[in-house]
């Protein structure tokens, strides 16, 4: 156990692209837990696209990260010291302690994880927020029926990879959109999608239309911009768009300007935005199903790992550019 904690703070707000200058790394003493609190040593930090939004000084569905504060994020870690009856040293836990090596959390803000059942890091991926997001977004908003064609962007990513596998389990045709032939190959060959379109190939509308001969019934949107605008034109009457992420817009100074909204009227499309927090009372329900699928070998995943907290900023910058391949993590211990 090192004597000090190490934290990544938000030092300045990016105008468009994030740079390493926007962060500051500091050493601080390790805090001591009070009554009902627990000291956790973080082992894995999750990097996610939503973090870009939290760096802006704009009230979104949650407040922004304050300048000088520790960057937000979920981690999995091990209890080092506990002043609450519910946890003991050695327990593996899921936390919201953010970008730091150690942190003190209230016991009620921690969830115990079973690292014997699945690797601890998967509780930040297919068995964590990304998997739960895929579960509720696809089932509650997308409402896929057997035989439907489900399209998902960022298909090799933490959310997209689960969406496509769940769509296959629901008896659908799963078509991914990803950047580059390596990711597309992985999506089809390893994850079992029926097809995957490389948006970098420059003929998205044509390629997508070839991969979706019966049109699109459900679009699970993680990217937005040109991708969403194109998908809308290929959607079927009474189809559904799960608007989960708009990563293409997060670093832009100007919002993308969509021209295909008329399709929503003419095709009577339902488009609905989602934030996984809206189902927080039902996480257990999704998790139980995801764990069962995982145990049965039906939920494949891939991780993109950055080593050490000092590299977390670079990990996020890469993620926002689509340089990750699978769930982006930082190994902290």
């Amino acid at each position: 156990m090192t004597a000090n904690n190490r934290q990544v703070l938000l030092a300045s707000r990016p105008r468009d692209q994030v740079s390493e200058d926007n962060f500051r790394i500091v050493e601080t003493p390790i805090a001591q837990p009070g009554d009902g609190e627990v000291l956790v040593r973080n082992e894995w930090l999750s990097l996610d696209p939503y973090m870009r939004g939290r760096m802006n000084d704009v009230k979104s569905y949650v407040p922004p990260v304050q300048l000088g504060a520790v960057m937000v994020g979920q981690t999995v870690g091990e209890v080092v010291q506990s002043r609450d009856a519910a946890f003991r040293p050695g327990d593996k836990v899921l936390t919201s302690l953010g970008w730091q090596l150690y942190g003190v959390a209230k016991a009620r803000d921690l969830a115990r994880i079973d690292a014997t059942r699945a690797p601890a890091s998967t509780y930040l991926g297919p068995l964590g927020m990304p998997g739960i997001t895929a579960w509720f977004g696809l089932h509650e908003i997308g409402q896929p029926k057997p035989g439907d064609t489900v399209v998902v962007s960022a298909a090799s990513g933490a959310v997209g990879s689960v969406v496509g596998q769940l769509a296959k389990i629901s008896g659908c045709r799963a078509v991914g959109i990803a950047g580059g032939s390596a990711k597309c190959r992985y999506v089809v060959e390893d994850l079992g999608f029926d097809a995957c379109v490389d948006y970098k190939a420059g003929s998205l509308e044509h390629d997508l239309s070839e991969s979706c001969p019966d049109g699109i019934d459900v679009n699970f949107e993680n990217v937005g911009g040109e991708l969403l605008d194109t998908v809308l034109r290929l959607m079927n009457p009474h189809s559904r768009v799960v608007l989960c992420g708009l990563i293409a817009e997060y670093c832009a100074t100007e919002p993308y300007r969509y021209k295909s909204l008329r399709a929503i009227l003419v095709k009577r499309i339902k488009m609905q935005g989602m934030i996984v927090f809206d189902w927080k009372d039902r996480y257990g329900e999704a998790l139980q199903q995801l764990v069962a699928l995982f145990a049965a070998g039906k939920l494949k995943y891939r991780e993109s790992i950055v080593e050490g907290i000092d590299n977390a900023p670079r990990g996020l910058i890469g993620l926002l550019k689509g340089e990750n391949f699978g769930k982006q993590l930082v190994r902290l211990a």
Copy 2:
């Protein structure tokens, strides 16, 4: 009874704005009904924004009007001659005979109306397609709860005027958007909306935000373009957009480019397109309620009447420019 029928045909397809050159008026013999058919003398022709879409050579939810064919539209008229047991001369009927003085329809394509209960023309307005559109769109997609703020564009129009009155009946705050102070005054003073914003005043976002101090829970969209883009920014979490019409786009050569889609994600808005035909098996249910409200004096309306079939093209052109004030009709007899 004149010896001849008079019809308005689609002569050419408009590129953007409709002009009178796009139509041709012809005299033809009056057709004779065969078995199971009825000859109707049309009294009122309904003009509606959807007609603009039908003038394009684009497969939408229904095929376009063919060049040289009679322009489509609903009418109310009187049965002149019947070769079906279900109708007798003198019966008032709702038809889809389009822009002509006389027409032969299959009996099963006609609906009898009760012109003693409400003026015949109201079956093209508050008790017709526009009223039924308002009913299902607001209730099934908008799902307003008491206390919600409901915004509707084209608020003095055939659909919008009913939406706002139904919203008031549901215990909501009804806020209209209309063009010009006369329409806005009518919407508040005669229709009983809580407020109406004049989009021509040039400060839409500010004015709308003042009229909706608690944000917007339901937006019933008839216009689109800048109006919809502005409304999206003022919507509340978990609010609903009923996408019923995009009249602002119908005559544009280029689609409007929306920049506020991110609001749909962040606020978890549900936006859904609608065409009233999707509820065709349930029209009776809506009509029954609308007739009861009408009889109770709770459904006020206003008509904008063009005289004579030769003026129908001019009526449609005016409607597409927002020059009508209330339900646009053509008096044919």
